[in-house]
Symmetry: D2
Amino acid sequence: MSEPIRNRLSAVRRDFHCHPEPAWREFYTTYRLVEELERIGVDELAVGADAYDPADRMAVPDEERLEDWRERAREWGADEDALECMAGGNTGAVAVLDRGEGPSIGLRVDIDGLFIEEADDVDHLPAAEGFRSKIDGAMHACGHDAHMTWGLAALEAIAESDFSGRLVVFFQPAEEVSGGGCPMARSRFADDLDYLLAVHVGLDHPTGEVVAGIEKPLAMAHLDVEIEGESAHAGKAPEEGANAMHAMGTAIENIYAIPRHSDGMTRVNVGYAEAGSASNVIAEHARMEAEARGETTELMEYVESRFERIVRSAATLHDCEAEVDVVSKSPRADSDPELAAVVADVARGVEGVDRVVERADFGASEDATFLMERVQAEGGLATYLIVGTDHPDSHHTPHFDVDERSLEHGAAVLVETIRALEEQGASTSRSTAATGGTR
Amino acid sequence: MSEPIRNRLSAVRRDFHCHPEPAWREFYTTYRLVEELERIGVDELAVGADAYDPADRMAVPDEERLEDWRERAREWGADEDALECMAGGNTGAVAVLDRGEGPSIGLRVDIDGLFIEEADDVDHLPAAEGFRSKIDGAMHACGHDAHMTWGLAALEAIAESDFSGRLVVFFQPAEEVSGGGCPMARSRFADDLDYLLAVHVGLDHPTGEVVAGIEKPLAMAHLDVEIEGESAHAGKAPEEGANAMHAMGTAIENIYAIPRHSDGMTRVNVGYAEAGSASNVIAEHARMEAEARGETTELMEYVESRFERIVRSAATLHDCEAEVDVVSKSPRADSDPELAAVVADVARGVEGVDRVVERADFGASEDATFLMERVQAEGGLATYLIVGTDHPDSHHTPHFDVDERSLEHGAAVLVETIRALEEQGASTSRSTAATGGTR
Amino acid sequence: MSEPIRNRLSAVRRDFHCHPEPAWREFYTTYRLVEELERIGVDELAVGADAYDPADRMAVPDEERLEDWRERAREWGADEDALECMAGGNTGAVAVLDRGEGPSIGLRVDIDGLFIEEADDVDHLPAAEGFRSKIDGAMHACGHDAHMTWGLAALEAIAESDFSGRLVVFFQPAEEVSGGGCPMARSRFADDLDYLLAVHVGLDHPTGEVVAGIEKPLAMAHLDVEIEGESAHAGKAPEEGANAMHAMGTAIENIYAIPRHSDGMTRVNVGYAEAGSASNVIAEHARMEAEARGETTELMEYVESRFERIVRSAATLHDCEAEVDVVSKSPRADSDPELAAVVADVARGVEGVDRVVERADFGASEDATFLMERVQAEGGLATYLIVGTDHPDSHHTPHFDVDERSLEHGAAVLVETIRALEEQGASTSRSTAATGGTR
Amino acid sequence: MSEPIRNRLSAVRRDFHCHPEPAWREFYTTYRLVEELERIGVDELAVGADAYDPADRMAVPDEERLEDWRERAREWGADEDALECMAGGNTGAVAVLDRGEGPSIGLRVDIDGLFIEEADDVDHLPAAEGFRSKIDGAMHACGHDAHMTWGLAALEAIAESDFSGRLVVFFQPAEEVSGGGCPMARSRFADDLDYLLAVHVGLDHPTGEVVAGIEKPLAMAHLDVEIEGESAHAGKAPEEGANAMHAMGTAIENIYAIPRHSDGMTRVNVGYAEAGSASNVIAEHARMEAEARGETTELMEYVESRFERIVRSAATLHDCEAEVDVVSKSPRADSDPELAAVVADVARGVEGVDRVVERADFGASEDATFLMERVQAEGGLATYLIVGTDHPDSHHTPHFDVDERSLEHGAAVLVETIRALEEQGASTSRSTAATGGTR
């Protein structure tokens, strides 16, 4: 790849990097995506509520929590027209190239950041080179800045080529809360796709390595808990309270101890918790944000049901009431080996890629599975591929960073795979499915 | 008391009631106090840093948390000069009447509100009659609005009388966090007081009842806890984290179980807790705001030391580090029976008071004990009296309210006690102390 | 007291000391008491089921647990006739002196040991001098060996005197489990008592001190818990179990954290717990032996009801079932000041007694309150007195021991009090009560 | 198989079934094995300390716990000579057939029962047909009664055949505590084995199914915990205790919550726990029997190290001291596919076997891995095979039972596999190893 392109990829990624925005608050991010997409020129561009049905969204924060971020996007330079399109937190976009005969190919990249405070020591490259997060307590700590860069780069390269077929790029919001996968999967843009490519950076695979298809993205549920007790004066009448703080403590202690399951891997985490008001008041209220995962959808549901029983019992134990709200859920879906084989073949020919793994396990969850499931259900093929990067620390930690050499690798793998699929044409199974067959 | 005075007491109290401000953020409250005090006319008026040494303050929030409240006070009408005096959160005031020969008498009232959301149902009088808190999540739920009203009313009545002596009224901020008692007690205004009266409304005593002196205000410590762990991806590598959320849960479970002590009453509460960031991240950080109380200072310290061991061990158990910060402490001090007897005598003659209790136990804590301890150490007498009120629900709960008939009772008891002390002159013990004796 | 008597008291006490037997298993102890009582010669001697209605007993262990102890008593020399009288674990005895006109006076001493392993280091006198417990894991760690010695000594002295009246000595079993007080109080021997003396050694009062009457023996309930879950293979299918072990852990964590109560002192303890079978089996079963105490009967019931909710909720949380059985309960009862005054007067004249306390608080529980309550309800007077002893370590610990000088003190105080009451005659209130009056 | 043989297998198994004996207490069981082996006639028979070095044993209970079981075995008819051979709890035996040229083949069966109370309802066949466990609280709930029956049956069939080679049958004690595998593996009987067969019944495979080789027997450690605190009177001075009961509760709550590991399966269980003495004593002592498992030896050690930190921290939190003793450990070992292939081939020809699985996962642990590891390290081949049985409820539960049709299947598979291996001769790799090569 040429120096200018390389620099351009880096510049785009760094702009995204220093403006991390959490789920359904990707206002500046979407604005910048639109700006780039308009520059590139696409045949159809749908933003926010035009891209999907807002009612299909999951884990949407209330308007109050959106407002600060909208204001901040405005300060960062997002224009009013763009913000208007995203009223109600309908962020994200879908861009389409419609270039005549040929297969219909989807590419899905996610765009949201995380509530993690980015490291600011000199050993952390974004800090040293001045593109550290501009907002304390939020960070692109999972590489979605790289994903968007790939989405734009692939689209631009294909747009400039003689590609024949249909390319749909999903710039999906709210992946971290499993909130945006479902609306994208149910949108008209997901109709009749022959192929779907979803892509992730890193995941402990080094720069130069490509995994052509992953298995076992964990099924996941996001769970919000509210516990209501009764306040009382902690000194004068502690026995009069119904202690929501204590109920929360009992719940936390037991949630992590949900028994392992002999059918396979499970995960559970309480990632955010808050309770009470002041030190001399028995806490009236507590809330927790948690998640349950499983190697299969059944295993996730096993964890979820245990979670609910624990929370309710812990509340009863302390004379409180609890509500557990399933904010969002994503299923498990595996990569199709036929499609992964195409990716693997292509990757072997990409400069800088020195190791190609056909299939690997995946210990995390992903709501790309909604799109994969939809495409596979209609007879198409889907794969979830990983482009390795030397990341200095784990995903979701303050020192996470992307080795920018992988920006080129990912762009090249995606572009070349799309061209290879163009050559191959629509998959047989899809055609069958279209005429009534089922997978 | 005349109808107009009665109405005036109610109006003042309701103004304070609907503008509740938490510890060291009593900007509007202090502004209104100053306005009233200037109207009354006093011989000396010291606001904020003029009233005490800011370095003696405890439990002061950081500037960021002050700012919102200063802004709100401005919106509510506090003028810039007043706010200027309170820069850095130096709220509260001391007012002095200096009227020639006679005893030196202190009166202490507290002024802060609580982080409790006030009830808004029609059964709650402040809601029904339109003086409910103007700010969600804060409330005068401990009657400090009545206390201030008494302080102003007593001062006004004495100012208009032929009183001879010195009257010092402490409008003390930050009682709820035991933060303002110490600076007031160390200030020059607490020098050479012959008598100190501290007063509280309600505390489960009905309208018409007066308790002349209380025993056993619990000694108290406010404790802030920070737990540091390490974040990790909850799905991909839960074992890599050091889970501050889980450490917090273990701490909460065990803090409430600190063994009861055979030497007397103890209390412990975790009143506020927060941990983590997002549901898919193992929590890196947790913090708690807690308190330890004891019937004696030693018992409070017993609870405090167990608290610290529990928090540190819970952190170690989960591979985290914890810090426990003792934000503030207040000692135990008892009422002097000689002074309580004066109050009791006076109260028996006050209209509307139908029951006088010489002494009662007190299940809560109070940083008035700093002033009491200072005055008693220098040979003066101190009492902490309660003016009963029919309160519909407990202190520190959303439906707490004051029966306004007790406004008159309290004002009358205070004014008449001050006049009785004027007649009695300086206490003998004080004179002795002044000439070198000790109590 | 003469040297031979002193030696005799010591010998008797040491024989009891090295044969400690737990509640309702005092087979050897009762046998020895009977032997001594027969030697002394009494007017009526009732053993076991002759002394009380077995159906009134509480906290009786099952036959299997009795059997070992009966066998051991046999080995220690208890004869078959004596054991026959105690079939079904009906241990203990009541001895009566009926000597004509005069007041009817009750004396209650308790006789059971504890499941504590006695210290065997040379610093522990019973070990050094060869009268350490003959059975591992059981011990007279609360001084009941001294109590029985006093009971026998007082009876012997009165029997040999010209006493006129009725003396009833209750050798009560099963005090430690609050099991024997109720049947003794309901027996015919408790009818029409003018006075009741109950006595305890030590309780942190030193040798030479006597407390004439105590207040606030805590009300108490003994609680047995059974938790039923479902076993499973811990390696192959941990999710299939319902983990009674885990439910027990959750219960323990929360039981100790039952909120302190503003009305007064409470206590709670899980003193014995056992769960599970083998390390590779998810525990199917757990059981706990616990107690709840309160400064009043209401406070004890507050703790008890919280206890039950916690245990049930902890079981539900882990998909188990729990049963809470209230094994026994004892009320609160206070000493009558008139009677305590008699004891105090007498004690001041006893050789070796150098300090007399009229009244003291009592931090523990006692089922002597059943007898006290009965006597007081019928118009008699009751007191619970303490004879101090320098005990090297706390009651209920392996190094507890009695300073044998207090054996004489206690015997003298009891004998002289009985003589003083003989002189005083039946209390007025009793006479009134007998003719229809009420207290 | 003929009716008489079938009946004989059933009779032998039922005799073992109703005499279950836990680890290192298999006195009657070993006596019966010796009786049967002497009847069959073998070339070498080593019992107890003759079969292995007692110092290599793990998880041996103290003499006191052995004594009851020895006494019971005597009552059940074990003769003194046999019991003599097992002094010190050296149970189990090794039997050898030495029949000239040919491969050296090991067969390992385990012999111990579990501390589980067997069901006694009529739906439970052993109860209905009168061979339910004769001792309350112990049970053959894992099918070792069937394993021994197979060992004897195979030995008898081979003894009566023209087999040429060496057959060594390990009747291994203490499998359930991973205590007997190591001494057997280090004994001279494990020298120079070409093949090792270990066998288990059931494990959720139905009657008629055979699994020729299993993978992933979890590595395992048995952990014993002692917690020492300080006792105190729970009513009088709860603050003076250091509560071992509470420390145990905190430990249990947290042990089950050891984070899942991204490298693979882990397990943890506290299978037995006991604490305290009586309800009115703060518990001085607690002990727990637990286990840690992992898909690899490293994962097991991860759990073990977390376990230790939790236990120590929970003790510190409650001012107690804890000791964690690693009683025994067993490594992971996988079946060799070459040997499993032989078993699979043979099984396909056995009457009644209708499904053969080449390889399956195994969710439990097994100390047969010691023998497998030893044989594999010396160049031999090992497999762990499963003979299915319709078991009405899970292993390690009160209703577990074996479908006796599988007794024939297992015996036939083992006999035919031994004959097939005789034909095949020593494995090549072993020969290589014997001459200096390594695997």
